[in-house]
Symmetry: C2
Subunit: 212 residues, 2 copies
DNA sequence: GTCTATAATCAGATAGAC
DNA sequence: GTCTATCTGATTATAGAC
């Protein structure tokens, strides 16, 4: 069995792929263990429960991405007054680094994030803010400083609009790239999609608040 | 039984509320029939299956909203060259009309739409484009004319970014308004959220394409 | 049309041998 | 650590009496 990773990793690998494609509640442990070619009981042995497995899948990506992302933002601020476009763009490299960790890692991570935010009824939001709060606030602080004309409450909403744009786009990325291919003969990988969405996000976050 | 609507309506009413709050797969027929105070078997008698019930719930809203929405857009174009903000804003009234049809109808509809797009693996997208395609294209055409500097393929992406922003925001609207209340002492109803998101969307859709 | 009762399936989790 | 076998509970769906 030289060419076979350990059971725990096999489960994580199969689970993240299925979770990203189908969502969490639509993915049974039986399907996961069947794709991973491991025994059904091993999930509970290694992870305790399905819920813990989901957390482990997410944590494996977040542990890599979050420090790199906040680091990129901090580095960027060493220079002078980055634009919103530059701040968002600084996340591209940390995102693409995930492809080195695992094939299709960027897309998988973003899709997991999307599924997680939508399915977990606020639980993932809590998990991320409590476990990665300091990294997160580096990003939020940089954005706020770069758009000082937006009041904090408004910025709260806009950052969540942004999150929504990203996670929905990524959860639908497969379908959308297929349609774009068929209708416009455009081939887009995940990086191309990310680079398309950034100007959209930056424009929305910075648009002056209308008083009506 | 004067003060009791018929079984079919009771099921639809209970189902749409639960679907919007919890998602489709997290809502069992047992929960629906229990809240509706009807017999479990009546769902299959009246709708045939859970999947058909989901379609019926969505169709009840779409049948009202889509004609009104496309009508609003067409009306708006009678005047001269509406802005993107005006086009998006023209949807507010049709959306709020849903509150007259049913208490909290606007929020319910948008949350259902969000859940549907995310959970249905592209099936809802197909259902909407095939059943409401003409209404939809009125809207798309108006947006395209109002932002002629955006090439069609780019506009395809931006309209889906927009869809993502809206449906994610609406699927998370309850959680977000709670947080905004707690952290910023801001009270927002669904109309307030809609009015917040429109400038964000309009700015993103119209931002010049960057050539890099 | 509505009900009870139940079929048929699938889920997560676990006991216990190896 | 891994396996088989099974438990327990939930689900959708249906048959058949009323």
């Amino acid at each position: 069995m030289a060419n076979r990773s350990d059971t725990k990793t096999r489960i994580l690998d199969a689970a993240e792929k299925l979770f990203a494609e189908r969502g969490f509640s639509e993915t049974s442990l039986r399907l996961i263990t069947s794709k991973a070619e491991v025994n059904l009981a091993s999930v509970n042995y290694h992870f305790g429960s399905k819920k813990e497995l989901i957390r482990a899948v997410l944590a494996r990506y977040l542990d890599r991405f979050m420090p790199e992302a906040s680091n990129a933002v901090v580095q960027l601020k060493q220079g002078s007054e980055p634009s919103l476009n530059e701040i968002f763009s600084s996340l591209v490299k940390p995102l693409l680094e995930l492809n080195k960790f695992k094939a299709d890692g960027t897309r998988t991570f973003l899709q997991l994030l999307g599924r997680g935010y939508i399915e977990s009824q606020g639980h993932l939001r809590w998990f991320i803010t409590t476990h990665y709060g300091e990294h997160l606030s580096e990003f939020v602080k940089a954005v706020a400083e770069s758009a000082p004309h937006i009041p904090p409450a408004e910025m709260f909403w806009r950052l969540h609009f942004t999150l929504g744009t990203v996670v929905f786009t990524m959860a639908s990325a497969d379908a959308l790239t297929e349609i774009a291919e068929a209708d416009f003969n455009e081939h887009n990988d995940i990086e191309a999609v990310i680079r398309k969405v950034i100007p959209y996000l930056a424009a929305g976050v910075a648009v002056p608040v209308t008083t009506q």
